[in-house]
């Protein structure tokens, strides 16, 4: 068994880019929890980190949109956004193409994937990495679930992706960490930015912590859009991580921070056989 860490976290650009507009004490509590997750991750000495992300047109567009994609490069660049706007300098992030290839081959046994030998990271991956691996010294393998341009893969396919990911990770000798990043409810990049449905978020997190598959897969996109905004489509990344880890979750931090446009979340999940 070579899955050594599983967690989920928020990635909204405000988390690093708009700290000057936020309450410094609340920001510190959140950032400390986020960095704490990075320390937990480092403590289990992974050889690579798979980030299950929901990118925002950094690489994939409606002219040729994959439901699921996995990076297969020896390095990646990011962020694509203005570094000053995001509060994260441009950098090169190490990858591991041969490891990607082995994982992709195994996942393809049950899930159809796109692969990408070029991949520019946007805030969806850079914000998590800036807290989890701030020296950018751990090889990263990006995965993407289309959560932006409907039609989107159904939730049960996000679950199947997580199962395939676990099987693939178990098939390699390397020690692998998996982190899913997304919002829960949020209405980002609209005038509603800052709106959060805390009750909906807490209910989702209860289901996620219990790893209650039927409850997590029971959301429809129509209901999610109504109750949790278009940002709520990103629950797919959290669902994939639950399917991969098979364990129980523990929430280290959850709090809506409106100027960050999301219910800020840091949580880990135990790994079960």
């Amino acid at each position: 068994m070579s899955l050594v860490f599983a967690g989920i976290c928020s990635h909204a650009p405000g988390i690093t880019g708009r700290t000057h507009l936020a309450d410094p004490l609340i920001t510190k509590e959140f950032h400390d929890a986020y960095r704490g997750m990075g320390e937990e991750l480092a403590a289990v000495k992974p050889d690579a980190l798979i980030v299950v992300a929901a990118e925002h047109f950094g690489n994939f567009f409606m002219n040729n949109m994959p439901s699921f994609a996995v990076g297969m490069a020896d390095s990646y660049q990011g962020p694509i956004e203005d570094p000053q706007w995001l509060g994260i300098p441009r950098t090169t992030i190490p990858g591991d193409a041969p490891l990607s290839l082995r994982l992709i081959r195994e996942m393809m046994q049950t899930v159809d994937l796109a692969y990408a030998e070029e991949w520019k990271f946007d805030h969806g991956i850079m914000v998590p990495l800036s807290f989890l691996t701030p020296r950018y010294d751990l090889p990263v393998i990006p995965m993407n679930i289309n959560c932006q341009g409907p039609p989107l893969a159904p939730l049960h396919r996000a679950w199947a992706l997580g199962e395939a990911l676990r099987r693939a990770v178990d098939s390699v000798p390397e020690r692998i960490a998996v982190v899913g990043t997304g919002g829960i409810s949020h209405w980002p990049a609209t005038p509603d930015s800052g709106k959060v449905n805390e009750e909906w978020d807490r209910e989702f997190l209860r289901r996620w912590q219990a790893n209650n598959k039927p409850a997590m897969l029971s959301y429809t996109d129509e209901a999610t859009y109504r109750d949790a905004g278009q940002g709520g489509f990103e629950i797919r990344t959290f669902i994939s991580v639950a399917a991969a880890a098979r364990g129980r979750g523990q929430v280290q931090f959850y709090r809506p921070i409106p100027i960050f446009a999301v219910g800020c979340t840091v949580a880990t999940m135990s790994i079960e056989a």
């Binding site: 694509i80 203005d82 932006q148 209405w187 990049a189 609209t190 005038p191 800052g194 709106k195």
Partner: protein, 103 residues
């Protein structure tokens, strides 16, 4: 319109070209007069109402150097002036006078 923003947001060469000669870059895309006008003048409010995905628009506003509060205000002003968002999944669900995150 979204294709142009996708190309612009992720490619620094396109960004440099756009800064130097906006019309030349926009000539390469199939745009209505309204879309072209909105992009040439950086009219965030109208681009928002025309239904551009918010993530594409947010990155564009950042590229134009718009402070966060101005960007939010521009989208609200767009809805006030042009009516509700016409396409996509980034509609406004709050009132035109609301300040959701105090901006």
């Amino acid at each position: 319109m979204q294709k142009f923003l996708f190309d612009l947001n992720r490619d620094r060469a396109v960004q440099q070209e756009f800064r130097a000669d906006r019309p030349a870059v926009l000539n390469r895309y199939d745009l209505s007069a309204e879309e072209r006008g909105a992009l040439e003048t950086g009219d965030i409010g109208l681009i928002y109402v025309l239904g551009v995905n918010g993530q594409l628009l947010m990155h564009y506003a950042a590229l134009l150097g718009m402070p966060w509060a101005d960007y939010i205000a521009a989208m609200r002003a767009g809805v006030s002036r042009h009516g509700p968002v016409r396409a996509g999944v980034y509609a406004m669900t709050t009132g035109v006078d609301e300040k959701v995150a105090n901006v």
